[in-house]
Structures are given as structure tokens and as C-alpha cells.
């Protein structure tokens, strides 16, 4: 569908991952898709912001904590997921420092239906302020798949300038997976632009410490 040429993309990904392998860093480099827009006015045009779920998890080391009822706590134990129950939350006594510490410890939170309603009362707005208010997990869905879904979500937001970046993978992923993540995110973002590809000036792929490779 897209104007993104597969071979150009594949080559960029190969070069990018090779570069990363050559000069080893002490951390896993994230791969970012950088988009330059054109014919778009941030003051007049509609906001360009949201979250998208990628097919392959870009940040596997993302730490998730389950705020669960008895049933969810049991499942969390089984799959080795950190958890806290209602009692543990009540003990925090709405202490801002404790809530802030909890928010810093994890990248994201999940919560059972019974608990999620109590959070404003038990913890106050601390998780809101950290941008980490929990996502609901019901008993009808698999906790493990919900964790994976949470890890696969990436945010994008265009602020006052015409360029933005979105995480699409890491240097430890297979090239094919990076390819699929890039394709999906590009197609999704372009579908939200009113002039589609006419709004895209350029696309670059870049690893955290590497040099950018143009793909469009």
C-alpha cells in the first residue's frame, strides 16, 4: 500500500543493526522512526497524537506491575509478574511520596476492575501525574496477553514543530520484526494525516547512538 519501498527499508534496517553490533554499547539501543511533515500547520490542523500497538514488542524489558484482586494476584504469581493487592495499596495511606516511588518503580500498571475504581481514593492522583494510570484487565482476558499488549503500545505526539519520533523497535530484535513494526506504524500514522503521503516530507530510522538512515 505505501510509498515506503521495501528494499530501501530492509537495507536501512540491516545497516542500522550492523552499526549497532560493531560499536557495542552497554544498553540495548532503541530504534526510532523519525517523521518530518510538510503542508501541515500545527496551529490550524487537527492534533496528531495517540498510541498505537505494534506487532512486536519494542521494549521487552518494560516493567509492569499488576494491582490485582485475589484471582489476578494468583495468576500474576504464576507468570512471574510483580503485583500488589488492595491491602498493600491501603497501607500506602495516600502518602504522596510512597505513591511517587511506586510510580517510578514501574513503566506501566495493570489493575483489576474492583481495584481500578478505588485508586483515586486509595492512592490519590499520584499515578495520573506520572502518566501511569493503570489499564483495566478483566477476568475474561489472559493476563499474560494483556501484559504483552501493554508492552507493545507506543505513544506518538506532534507538538509545535513538524517533526516527531516514535519508538519502533530495539537493536536486539530480528530484522523482519523491525520491518513489520515500521511498516505498520508508518501506514497507521499516514492514515491519520489528511493528505496522507502528501503530508510526509521524509522518514528516517535511527538507533539511539547510531546515525540516521533515510527511508523515504
Amino acid at each position: 500500500m505505501s510509498k515506503l519501498q521495501s528494499d530501501v527499508l530492509r537495507e536501512a534496517i540491516t545497516q542500522l543493526t550492523n552499526d549497532s553490533r560493531e560499536k557495542k554499547r552497554n544498553f540495548m539501543e532503541t530504534i526510532e522512526l523519525q517523521i518530518g511533515l510538510k503542508n501541515y500547520d500545527p496551529q490550524k490542523d487537527k492534533r496528531f497524537s495517540g498510541s498505537v500497538k505494534l506487532p512486536h514488542i519494542p521494549r521487552p524489558k518494560m516493567k509492569v506491575c499488576m494491582l490485582g484482586d485475589a484471582q489476578h494476584v494468583e495468576v500474576a504469581e504464576k507468570i512471574g509478574l510483580d503485583w500488589m493487592d488492595v491491602e498493600a495499596l491501603k497501607k500506602m495511606n495516600k502518602n504522596k511520596k510512597l505513591v511517587k516511588k511506586l510510580a517510578k518503580k514501574y513503566h506501566a500498571f495493570l489493575a483489576s476492575e474492583a481495584i481500578i475504581k478505588q485508586i483515586p481514593r486509595l492512592l490519590g492522583p499520584g499515578l495520573n501525574k506520572a502518566g501511569k494510570f493503570p489499564t483495566l484487565v478483566t477476568h475474561q482476558e489472559s493476563l499474560e496477553s494483556k501484559v504483552n499488549e501493554t508492552k507493545a503500545m507506543v505513544k506518538f505526539q506532534l507538538k509545535k514543530v513538524l517533526c516527531m519520533g516514535i519508538a519502533v523497535g530495539n537493536c536486539g530484535m530480528e530484522e523482519k520484526q523491525i520491518f513489520q513494526n515500521v511498516q505498520l506504524s508508518v501506514n497507521f500514522l499516514v492514515s491519520l494525516l489528511k493528505k496522507n503521503w502528501q503530508n510526509v516530507r521524509c522518514l528516517y530510522l535511527k538507533s539511539t547512538m547510531g546515525k540516521p538512515y533515510r527511508v523515504f
Binding site: 496551529q43 490550524k44 490542523d45 487537527k46 492534533r47 496528531f48 497524537s49 495517540g50 498510541s51 498505537v52 495516600k94 476492575e113 481500578i116 475504581k117 485508586i119 483515586p120 490519590g124 492522583p125 499520584g126 495520573n128 501525574k129 506520572a130 502518566g131 494510570f133 493503570p134 489499564t135 483495566l136 503500545m153 505526539q157 492514515s191 491519520l192 489528511k194 493528505k195
Partner: protein, 398 residues
């Protein structure tokens, strides 16, 4: 209000009276609406952001991307005046103060909420937030109906309208731009806010408002929220449109999500054979019929009213009204006629509503297809050139 109800039933019932000759391309139950007139609001490249009106007065207020608000007569399409003053993007306008029907309020990225007298076009009130702020939405209400709430960058501000003084600031419940604030319809002492951070928050606004004790409930939509609205027999439901063009239905009293339409644009597009739906403008709720529609649009400017069946799991139906041939670009606002003053319409034809878009146009749509109306709209596009002449023709009896 009675006339408005008639108009609604005329459109959304299969039993429309006179000219129900629909050129039904999509399905037999979808009506293509005719345009009554089109007004070009400017000859630069300014967008129409929003159209506002109120049942008490016969003026249409139109906010433009040039930081001004233009006023038009809904009956003739005549330009009446302009409210100038904002020095940055206007995000919302409304005739939101119940006791003052001529008072138009607006909020902007210039960190102000301003009030204008629509009879004189002059600014009569100015409420300022800190200079780094931008106000994206506002609402008047509260238990004493004297509270003005404004959504800003990560903050919700409250002012007392009587003194114009700021009385509270909530800054911990959102960590990104607050895109909309609304007092709940039946209980005016509760406020719902939406934000780019993906949350819908419910606050109690009685007494001294603070972050620690007034946050009642949080609904995590999961992605940047653009707009929401109340609906349902007891206004207990919320529809929510996100910036990635998805729709979800919530019960805000219970704080839970009823329905999530994950790929809303495709679900809507599948219901007709016109161009792909690229975005949603708004949702429309008819209280008399207890029905909800989502208004989807194409890049070329065609709109469709897609009915939503809110019984779980939720279904988007085929469009019951199609507005084509009015706009040439993205449509940004729709104002249903039930929100305007009906009494002075010289023609008894039912007006369906008004739309405005990035093409700078203001379009008035008729609720039934009348070929005579189609012919008359051609001449009315010149309304800007000779408004007075046209006005005379309208009122001189032969």
C-alpha cells in the same frame, strides 16, 4: 423546540412525508441532504473551527483560524459583525452563560477566556490565566452555576464568574493538555475532563476544589482523547472520540467502558460505498428518540451520520443522512438545528443544521430534498457580494 423535534423525525424516520425521493446510493434508508446556502467566510486560507448558537438568539457565531469570531444571520446568511481580540488560536466558543443570551464566550491559546456582547461585537469580559498557559476548553456550571472551568496544559482552572478571580487549580490529575471540560448535565456539581494523556477524569466541584480529595474517578481510554459528550436517558453515558479516530462508549457513573470500536473508521466506511471515512467530526444525540449517531467525514468533505447501536457489543449502522457537495476539505464542525433559534426562518423548510470546515465555508443543509431548494442555492453563493439587495428581495412582498 417542537419544530426541532419535527425536523429530527423527518430525517431519521423512514416515514418522511413529501419529497422522500432520495438518490439512495448507499442504502434505501439513507437520505442525501440538499444545501440551502454556502457562505465563504474569508478569502484567505482560514479554517472554520466551530459554529455556535443558542435557541434564545438568532445569530450564528463562527470561530476562524485567524483568531476572530464572525457572526452571521442564520436565516439570510448575512455577515453581521466580527469579534476581534484574541491573539492566538481560538479553541472553543459557546453561548454558555444561561442568564445572558447575548454573551458569547471563547477560549484560546493566548491564555484567556473572553466574553463578547454579540449585539455590539465588543469584548465585555476578560479572564486571564498565567501567560504560559493555553486554554483548550471551558464550561460554565457548578453547584451555584457561577463556576467557570477551563482546561489548560496539564491543569484545570476554576474561576468565580462573579468576581473573575481564580478560585482553584487542579494540576495533578492530568499530565498533558486537557482537551475538554464539561459539567455533568444533571448534577451540575461534577465535572468531567479529557486529556491528551488518555484519561477521562471525574471531579467533585463542591467546596474548595483540590487535587487530593476531589478526584472521584478515572477512566483510562488508553490514547489521546479529543472530544466527549453525554447521552442516554439519564445522561449517564459518555461517547468519546480519540485523536486516532476511534470511538468508545462509557458509563461515567460506574466509571467503566461499555463498548470500544477499535477500528471505527473501517467499521463506518464498510457501511457505505462512498470514499473511506478518514475522521470523525462529532457525535449527535437525539434526546427525543434516544439515539446516537457518529458523524464521519472524508478528506473531500462528505459527511455521513452513522447510527450507533449501544447495546453491547455495539454496532455501527449504515448512514441515515449524507451531506455531500457542500465542502471541499476536512469538515471541522457540525451544529444541529436543535441548537439554534428556529422562529425567524422565513422559509418553512426544515433546516437540518450547519457545517463548517477547512475550506473556510459555512454550509446550511436542508432536511428534505427539494429540487427548488437546489436551484436557489446557486444564487445564494453570491450573498457576500450583495447582501443588502438580497435582503430586500426577501422581505418585499409582491
Amino acid at each position: 423546540m417542537e419544530i426541532a423535534a419535527e425536523v429530527e423525525m423527518d430525517i431519521f424516520d423512514g416515514t418522511a412525508a413529501a419529497s422522500s425521493s432520495s438518490f439512495s446510493a448507499a442504502s434505501t434508508s439513507s437520505k442525501r441532504l440538499a444545501i440551502k446556502n454556502t457562505i465563504q467566510t474569508n478569502f484567505h486560507e482560514d479554517y472554520v473551527f466551530q459554529i455556535a448558537s443558542s435557541p434564545e438568539i438568532s445569530t450564528l457565531a463562527v470561530s476562524l483560524s485567524s483568531n476572530t469570531i464572525k457572526l452571521y444571520s442564520p436565516a439570510t446568511g448575512q455577515f453581521i459583525g466580527e469579534c476581534k481580540g484574541h491573539i492566538s488560536t481560538i479553541h472553543e466558543i459557546s453561548f454558555g452563560v444561561p442568564s445572558s443570551p447575548h454573551l458569547l464566550c471563547s477560549c484560546s491559546s493566548d491564555a484567556t477566556v473572553r466574553m463578547w456582547d454579540t449585539r455590539t461585537f465588543k469584548q465585555v469580559s476578560l479572564i486571564k490565566a498565567a501567560s504560559y498557559q493555553e486554554i483548550f476548553s471551558f464550561c460554565v456550571g457548578g453547584s451555584s452555576t457561577n463556576l467557570l472551568a477551563g482546561g489548560g496544559k496539564s491543569q484545570i482552572l476554576f474561576w468565580d464568574l462573579r468576581s473573575s478571580k481564580q478560585v482553584a487549580c487542579l494540576e495533578e490529575s492530568h499530565m498533558d493538555d486537557v482537551t475538554q471540560v464539561r459539567f455533568t448535565p444533571n448534577q451540575q456539581n461534577k465535572l468531567v475532563s479529557s486529556s491528551v494523556d488518555g484519561l477521562l477524569c471525574l471531579f467533585d466541584t463542591v467546596g474548595h476544589i483540590d487535587d487530593d480529595n476531589h478526584l472521584e474517578s478515572v477512566m483510562n481510554v488508553g490514547t489521546s482523547v479529543g472530544k466527549f459528550g453525554f447521552f442516554g436517558e439519564k445522561n449517564q453515558k459518555l461517547w468519546c472520540l480519540t485523536h486516532i479516530e476511534t470511538l468508545s462508549i462509557w458509563d461515567w457513573r460506574d466509571g467503566r467502558r461499555d463498548i470500544n470500536f477499535e477500528d471505527t473508521r473501517t467499521l463506518a466506511s464498510d457501511q457505505w460505498n462512498l470514499d473511506h471515512i478518514d475522521y470523525f467530526v462529532d457525535c449527535y444525540y437525539s434526546e427525543t428518540k434516544d439515539r446516537l449517531w457518529v458523524i464521519g467525514g472524508t478528506g473531500a468533505g462528505t459527511l455521513g451520520y452513522f447510527p450507533i447501536n449501544c447495546t453491547v457489543p455495539g454496532v455501527i449502522g449504515s448512514p441515515e443522512a449524507i451531506l455531500e457537495g457542500g465542502h471541499t476539505g476536512v469538515v471541522r464542525t457540525v451544529l444541529p438545528v436543535s441548537m439554534t433559534h428556529q422562529g425567524i426562518l422565513t422559509e418553512k423548510k426544515g433546516v437540518f443544521g450547519w457545517t463548517g470546515g477547512e475550506d473556510g465555508r459555512l454550509c446550511c443543509w436542508l432536511s428534505d430534498e427539494n429540487l427548488a431548494a437546489n436551484k436557489s442555492w446557486v444564487s445564494s453563493t453570491f450573498v457576500m457580494k450583495s447582501p443588502r439587495v438580497r435582503g430586500k428581495n426577501r422581505h418585499l412582498p409582491y
